[in-house]
């Protein structure tokens, strides 16, 4: 078993879920309508729960326990893409990120159901079903806002354009990419990115929006290597406030 490669992969997907889960939770009480408060905090709970399950597999592979790993790890050891750490911004930015990220995530977990690393394949079979609700929610909003008023179309289009290079950073390859593909642990970022572009194009086609070209801009890379923005440091500070004050706290 190629443990270093598997750990790298698990950290990448676990950290994406954890960080975006926390960002989603920030909509609690701020959603434009009550249903969106509920939707974003449910998706937060799903994503944070999924990260816990991934960190539990890491723990079985000898990494620190899930709480320590989530709350007390140094920012430069986080492998999430930079896109998920960005502040929630306005609802347009968050909905576009939800659309771009969750569609990629659904494809990622769909392929991971075939992973030769069985604990991850099993977990992915479960997560894949849950994510249908996330992509449905995102696609519904994109269709609604992308066929809405001039303001909603313009704002979503601007959010798409502004997000594009960050979103492409989701597909930054791992140093173990070739081994992961060869050992059938993971299909590889290139396949995920292409299927993702086809999938989001299908939704965008039914709207007044247009997608930037896949290769028109340089992806914002670094997250997968532990390079992060100020936003992640601030987020981690906030997340770990309680555990640092009282490491034994239970709630």
């Amino acid at each position: 078993m190629n443990t270093p490669a598997i750990k790298e992969l698990l950290y990448k997907i676990g950290d994406d879920q954890l960080i975006l889960g926390h960002r989603n939770s920030e909509w609690t009480g701020l959603g434009p309508i009550l249903e969106e408060d509920i939707a974003f905090c449910s998706m937060a709970q799903d994503k944070i729960g999924q990260s816990l399950a991934i960190f539990s597999i890491l723990h079985e592979l000898g990494e620190p326990d899930p709480d320590t790993n989530a709350f007390l790890r140094d920012a430069k050891l986080f492998k999430n893409c930079q896109y998920v750490e960005m502040p929630i911004g306005e609802f347009d930015f968050s909905i576009v990120r939800h659309f771009l990220f969750d569609n990629a995530e659904a494809i990622r977990f769909k392929h991971l159901t075939d992973s030769s690393f069985i604990p991850l394949a099993n977990l992915s079979k479960k997560i894949k079903g849950e994510l249908k609700y996330h992509t449905m929610h995102a696609n519904t909003w994109i269709k609604r806002l992308g066929n809405g008023s001039k303001e909603s179309i313009d704002r979503v289009q601007k959010a798409l354009n502004d997000s594009w290079t960050m979103a492409l950073g989701m597909f930054e390859v791992s140093p173990y990419e070739a081994e992961l593909i060869q050992e059938k642990i993971f299909v590889g970022e290139k396949v995920i990115m292409q299927e993702w572009y086809e999938s989001i194009s299908a939704t965008i086609e039914g709207t007044e929006l247009s997608l930037p070209d896949l290769y028109s801009s340089k992806p914002m890379l670094g997250g997968r290597q532990g390079l992060h923005t100020e936003s992640l440091i601030k987020l981690l500070d906030e997340m770990s406030e309680v555990i640092r004050l009282d490491p034994e706290a239970e709630w």
Binding site: E35, G49, A53, G129, Y133
Partner: protein
Amino acid sequence: MKDLLTKDVVWNKLKVVKDPEIPTLSLVDMGIIRELNIEGDSVEVVITPTFVGCPAIEMMKDEIESALLSMGFQNVLVRVSFSYQWNSDMINEAGRKSLVEFGLAPPPQHQLIEDIEILERIPCPACKGTNTELRNSFGPTLCRSIHYCNDCKEAFQQFKPVN
């Protein structure tokens, strides 16, 4: 006492353990208890959550453990595993009845969910009519969605289909 604890007996006795959020629904009928391995006065139970992020799973583990200890087992191990992936077709007939009893619409049986349209026109648990609409595919817990009955003029919740 000990020799009475056959698999069937224990399985049946475990029906006293209910979902912490749906007090009419037993964990057995819900389908989250996947394995029961008895060896003398030791027992191992394998459970799998309805949703990966279900916050009630720790409580369920504790309640299964105390139920088994009170049956007379000396060593009890309750393990959460994803070797089984729970889907809403694992709720049995008794479980579906318990959901209705609690006022929740049971999930449509699906085999494989290809389209989320499955959430539309869910029969209202009060009037049984299907003049209903989906209001939110996310609800008060991860496993529930919110619907509205146009005849009763009232909102209701459904235990979500998932696979």
